[in-house]
């Protein structure tokens, strides 16, 4: 078998089309577990900020979870909030600096458990911030415990036989909930289970940021991310496990565009078409940005 030397850049004429890491990351290093989906989302929203050329007026507000370690490696002016409180902190930042791009970075434990009222009220007030939710359906940092988005049947450390609706209740579909609020201008649920979904998620980040910069209202991007450690599955099975559990309940797609809430049927139809289109693009040699 011929192995190509990939230790250095090619010597024949070639164009670099994707960089190792986004410029807005000070280092590629992080201590996320193997197979974690969170860095995939982080790359995409940071690259969107670079692409929109608004880096020098961007402020992040970090919640508390595994992703909090990116607070130190993102080259972004940042406020560290308490667990669940990031949307309120972001509100204070944006009200004082209305020309800035302000986003929160939160997990499902942070946003949907501890801070549910914060995100809903911030959305209802139509605060011109973007809340980013990395949703893996478990408390990753504590080691895989049930959150408010854990789907029925999903195994976690405190639902060993799977989440039992009768005993543990039902998951909150936070994106759908936020979309219902009048103050929300753009709401989307992305996923990072394959390259096509990552590319779609990137577009969602971009649209959310653009909507915020136009001052249209509250914007929200939820991203389903793999947590093989917290799910107790092999890293390679992460994407498929996520599709079969979280992905079946928290349906991917743009949930609210231009103030209109879209139906699940619309989302399903679009998901099939988009995935086919993106797979085709990849097969032809790359996703059109």
């Amino acid at each position: 078998m011929t192995i190509i030397d990939t230790s250095k850049a090619p010597t024949v004429p070639a164009r670099k089309v994707e960089s190792l890491k986004p410029d807005l990351l000070l280092t590629q290093e992080h201590h996320m577990c193997p197979g974690c989906g969170e860095p995939l989302a982080v790359r995409q929203f940071l690259e969107c900020i670079e692409e929109l050329d608004v880096a020098n007026r961007t402020i992040a507000v970090a919640g508390i979870g595994c992703y909090t370690s990116f607070a130190g490696t993102m080259d972004v002016d940042l406020v560290q909030a308490l667990h669940g409180r990031a949307p309120s902190v972001a509100t204070g930042v944006k009200r004082m600096l209305p020309d800035s791009l302000v986003f929160t970075l939160q997990g499902d434990g942070d946003m949907v458990n501890e801070g549910l009222q914060e995100v809903l009220h911030t959305a209802a007030r139509g605060e011109k911030v973007t809340c980013i939710l990395l949703n893996n359906g478990v408390f990753g940092e504590t080691g895989g415990h049930m959150t408010a988005t854990t789907v029925v049947g999903q195994r976690t450390k405190n639902t060993l036989d799977g989440r039992d609706a009768e005993y543990h209740g039902y998951p909150i579909l936070i994106g759908d909930l936020v979309a219902q609020l009048q103050g929300a201008s753009y709401v989307a649920r992305g996923s990072v289970h394959n390259a096509g979904s990552v590319a779609r998620t990137r577009k969602m980040f971009k649209r959310a940021f653009e909507s915020q910069l136009r001052g249209e209202g509250f914007t929200f991007v939820e991203v389903l991310t793999m947590c093989p450690t917290g799910w107790f599955v092999p890293t390679a099975d992460g994407p498929s496990y996520m599709q079969e559990t979280l992905g079946e309940v928290h349906i991917m797609g743009e949930l609210k565009v231009d103030g209109r809430v879209r139906t699940t049927e619309e989302l399903h139809a679009e998901n099939v078409a988009k995935q086919r289109e993106l797979d085709d693009q990849l097969a032809r040699g790359g996703i059109e940005k």
Partner: protein
């Protein structure tokens, strides 16, 4: 396929390539199924952290799918100005 002195070789065209920072790879395998032409495979060797890492065979299209799904930011993606042809031993797959 060509026959040069009794050895069967196959010409494989690569439209692009990647660099792989194997030192930072945590061996999660996500890039392997993500690669549309299927030219990535995990090594049998391990890096200094004890993780196997992806290795590239000829046929890369430079599509970037591996980079999109890599949590550890080990890839960089290049597209060749002119496709690079590699002669590999054996019959075409």
């Amino acid at each position: 396929m060509s026959d040069t002195g009794g050895t069967t070789t196959t010409s494989i065209k690569s439209r692009g390539t990647v660099t792989i920072d194997i030192a930072h790879c945590k061996g999660c395998d996500l890039c392997i199924p993500a690669c549309p032409p299927g030219v990535l495979a995990m090594s049998t060797e391990v890096n200094h952290m004890g993780y196997p890492y992806p290795q590239l065979s000829p046929g890369c299209t430079g599509c970037g799918a591996c980079l999109y799904v890599c949590p550890d930011f080990v890839f960089e993606v290049y597209r060749f100005e002119q496709p690079v042809v590699t002669e590999v031993a054996g019959a075409a797959r």
